[in-house]
């Protein structure tokens, strides 16, 4: 009898020990993990901030906390490659200013765990950005460094040629190589190609991509695309304003040189923003084979409440335009991680950081607005159920990871 009790105790003790193996077990979700070529129902276990197991039917007894996720999509934490988050108190400007927004206010609630700031800072003020925002945020904040020394400061220094220093930019890129993913050029109204050449040079030397925004009115689109290398990124792809030639001509045709650039490996980011996304561009472009490579929101003060709203809303637009849900999610996670040369992100391999999100694909009658205040109807819309960053639940809409009150 005593022996039996000891056995029971040992079994119970071991069960308990086994039961503490995983911090979280996410059970029954449909996993989309492009890197590992998984589009299937899988269980995922998380411990100490890392993915520790991905397989069918992991026993619930092994986990301290089970998150029942049948009917939901499990995606690697989404990556928004185009945001402006160098928030500060300076009025009428993005760099250290009120036009930027705090990342945590918008990220976790739309399934994002990593944002990339699109050149709001330059080599002169990157460290302020790092101290004030990057180090103080729960969201992983990466950044493109503006070739302009003061970033998007909104004043004349933004256009100062001598401040667009390829060497300084490269040195900063090297010094903060864990945060800085490339160089950005935008907001230059001159005709001199020096800023563009410097931006190409600094990013090329560091082996990182160049992000090209559209506020470069004196450069032709064809010239810009010609100078760009495979892997470089053009954003505001579906913009229809005077500042840059739209990719769709007045007859509704995709310019052949744009298609050629796309096929040559230039990445086309959405960069939705307040003015950067038009159905009259996106729908014909999609129909003619130009599918965006990433879903940058261009999040800032003037886009947040517009047709943009959040990254899932932007992704949902493309689902309703015709993209498959799997493709949209793969591009918003692994493909974006690859585009910014961060292969450690955007997948749920065993050993990877436990950044993930559970999404619900709602069916119903939805509407989506573009920058011209026109809309499309749609049947599908993604909503965030739960977001985990570094193995911690950072957003939980309906309490999937919570205990019942009683």
């Amino acid at each position: 009898m005593r022996f039996f009790l000891i056995i029971c105790f040992c079994v119970a003790y071991n069960m308990q020990a086994i039961g503490q193996e995983y911090d979280f077990l996410i059970k029954g979700a449909y996993l989309i993990d492009a890197k590992n070529d998984i589009r299937d129902t899988m269980d995922v276990a998380v411990s100490d901030g890392k993915i520790v197991s991905v397989s069918k039917n992991i026993p619930v007894i092994l986990a301290k906390k089970v998150i029942e996720a049948s009917g939901l999509i499990l995606s690697p934490g989404l990556i928004d490659p185009h945001t402006h988050v160098f928030v500060g108190s300076k009025s009428k400007t993005f760099a250290d200013g009120f036009y930027s927004v705090s990342p945590d206010d918008f990220t976790f609630r739309s399934g994002i765990t990593t944002v990339v700031d699109a050149g709001t800072s330059g080599w002169r003020n990157f460290e302020t950005f790092k101290t004030n925002v990057i180090d103080a945020s729960k969201t992983r904040v990466l950044a493109f460094l503006n070739i302009s020394g003061t970033g998007m400061s909104g004043d004349s220094t933004q256009e100062n040629l001598s401040d667009m220093d390829a060497k300084k930019a490269y040195e900063t890129l090297k010094l903060y190589s864990d945060i800085l993913v490339g160089i950005k050029i935008g907001h230059y109204t001159g005709t001199d190609w020096l800023p563009f050449e410097n931006a190409l040079q600094a990013s090329g030397k560091a082996g990182k991509p160049l992000l090209v925004e559209c506020h470069l009115p004196e450069y032709s689109l064809a010239d810009q695309l010609n100078k760009m290398r495979p892997g470089d990124i053009i954003t505001h792809s579906f913009e229809e304003i005077d500042e840059r030639l739209p990719i769709i001509d007045s007859e509704g045709r995709l310019h052949p040189f744009v298609k050629a650039a796309y096929e040559r490996g230039i990445n086309f980011d959405v960069g939705h923003g307040g003015a950067g996304f038009w159905f009259s561009q996106a729908i014909p472009a999609y129909q003619q084979g130009l599918v965006p490579n990433s879903f940058g929101t261009d999040l800032h003060r003037f886009s947040m409440n517009s047709g943009m709203k959040n990254m899932l809303n932007v992704m949902s637009k493309f689902i309703n335009i015709g993209m498959r849900v799997e493709e949209v999610i793969e591009k918003a996670s692994w493909k974006t991680a690859q585009a910014i040369h961060r292969p450690d992100l955007g997948h749920l391999s065993e050993g990877a950081v436990a950044d993930l999100t559970l999404l619900k694909l709602h069916e119903g009658d939805f509407g989506f607005i573009d920058a011209g205040k026109n809309k499309i109807e749609g049947k599908y819309k993604l909503e965030t159920e739960l977001t985990m960053k570094d193995g911690k639940v950072v957003y939980d809409l309906n309490g999937l990871a919570a205990n019942k009150y009683h």
């Binding site: 108190s89 250290d96 927004v101 609630r109 409440n305 009658d365 939805f366 607005i369 026109n374 809309k375």
Partner: protein, 457 residues
């Protein structure tokens, strides 16, 4: 067409000086028509005149810019909870009536199936956003710029709860209040430096009732609606100084009484130190070592809490990241104790917690048993009265058109408190559209815009 219209407008203006609508009058006053009807119709000029008359009438009558049609309107101040139409012109509500004709409006939005309420007032937020990394809430990242949270949850007015004091309020105003689309009002902290840090908030020598009252009454009476007392570790000194300032400025005081070890008596606070009209926030907080709770360990509401509410103490939710627990709220509601105001305590530590946004918070209370009318009252007309801003929180004709439009989603939802416990729920409000001063500032599904193909028509 415009020229044509203009011509006939002038023609009728001219003729009306002599005899308004001579032709029509003749038609109406004669028992028999002046000429046989077929003859009349044959007269092409007459038809021309008649049709122009119609055009002029419809042109003149389109005096509503935006007509919200067919929504279920809940306006607690006016006791409205029914299908009724709202007309907006410029910044203001100009008409509220059943069946306002569409041809009287330049633009109509069909709101059948949606709920329409006054723009919500979130009476407890922290929005003194800034880049002082040494500071806690004043001019700091813990505070949030309001516009990213308000419109998407139906809120049009927020009240900052003491992030600034009289020394730094003007910076707050220049930096955030003047730059926001959301209407930002504020309670001024009794501490001169506001919520710079816990240590500074203990400085009794910086709690100046006269300067606090002067700032409110002499400088910014349109923005500053009350006083905040918070985070004090000592006795009743801070509350008493705040009330002294409140008497000088004739405004209410809001108290966060959560950091006393051992706890201070809330019965004494309600019955002796506060005045009727003063506000107790974080009503359903459960942190019994720091703040005396309103519900005891046997889950009974303490009798003096009902007495206090009768006396006129206003109970504010102030959900926050640490101040709302079901073990307080559920028993309290079951025993008939309802908060006077439902508010968020929005800041960076609360935004992604059990609190999500105001629409979610109102839904939480609906799933605890309150009706939609009851929750809307507590986020519109009730807070407007508490802060003495009776121009807000209702849909009276003549007021600024701050309006929220919700979908009531049915399904299986969950709602969290800050203790990571949850309740199930079957309904959730989703913000469909928000209008601030007559302008659409949030439109989730594009109710207010045309289809994209219209660009090519």
């Amino acid at each position: 067409m415009p020229l044509f219209k203009q011509f006939f407008l002038q023609y009728f203006r001219y003729t009306s000086r002599i005899n308004p609508f001579p032709f029509v009058k003749q038609l109406l006053t004669s028992h028999s028509l002046p000429m046989p009807l077929p003859y009349l119709l044959n007269k092409s000029f007459t038809i021309f005149l008649l049709s122009s008359l119609l055009i002029c009438f419809s042109g003149n009558a389109q005096d509503i810019d935006l007509l919200l049609k067919g929504g279920h309107v809940i306006d607690p101040k006016n006791g409205i909870s029914e299908t009724i139409d709202i007309g907006i012109t410029g910044k203001n509500i100009v008409k509220i009536a059943k069946n306002i004709p569409e041809n009287t409006a330049k633009k109509t939005i069909d709101l059948k199936g949606y709920y329409v309420t006054p723009g919500l007032i979130d009476m407890h937020v922290h929005v003194f956003n800034g880049a002082d990394t040494e500071s806690y809430i004043a001019n700091a990242l813990t505070s949030l710029p309001p516009d990213g949270f308000t419109f998407r949850s139906g809120v049009t007015t927020v009240v900052d709860a003491g992030s600034s004091g009289w020394r730094n309020f003007r910076q707050f105003k220049a930096q955030t209040i003047d730059k926001s689309q959301t209407r930002v009002l504020a309670l001024l902290n009794i501490v001169g430096t506001g919520m710079y840090g816990r240590l500074e908030e203990q400085d009794v020598t910086d709690m100046n009732p006269t300067m606090t009252a002067n700032m409110i009454t002499k400088m910014f009476p349109d923005i500053l609606v009350g006083i905040k007392s918070a985070h004090y570790w000592g006795d009743f000194t801070q509350v008493d100084l705040a009330v002294e300032a409140g008497k000088l400025a004739e405004v209410p005081v809001m108290v966060d009484f959560g950091e006393h070890q051992p706890t201070n008596s809330i019965e004494a606070l309600f019955m002796k130190h506060l005045r009727p009209g003063d506000i107790f926030t974080h009503t359903f907080s459960y942190g019994p070592n720091n703040r005396e709770t309103i519900v005891d360990e046997d889950l009974k509401v303490k009798p003096f809490v009902f007495e206090a509410q009768k006396r006129g103490i206003k109970f504010d939710v102030g959900h926050g990241g640490g101040a709302f627990s079901f073990r307080q709220a559920v028993p309290a509601i079951q025993q008939g104790f309802l908060p006077d105001v439902i508010s968020s305590d929005l800041h960076s530590q609360s935004m992604n917690s059990g609190f999500k946004d105001m629409a979610n918070l109102l839904s939480k209370f609906m799933n605890m048993g309150l009706t939609m009318e009851e929750v809307v009252l507590r986020a519109t007309w009730n807070p407007a009265q508490v802060i003495n801003r009776k121009d807000l929180g209702h849909l009276d004709v003549g007021t600024e058109a701050d309006i929220a439009i919700f979908t009531l989603r049915k399904g299986d939802f969950g709602f969290l408190d800050i203790r990571k416990t949850k309740i199930d729920g079957d309904k959730r409000l989703e913000t469909e559209m928000t209008i601030r001063a007559g302008r659409v500032v949030w439109d989730l599904n594009g109710l207010s815009v045309p289809y994209w193909e219209s660009e090519f028509k």
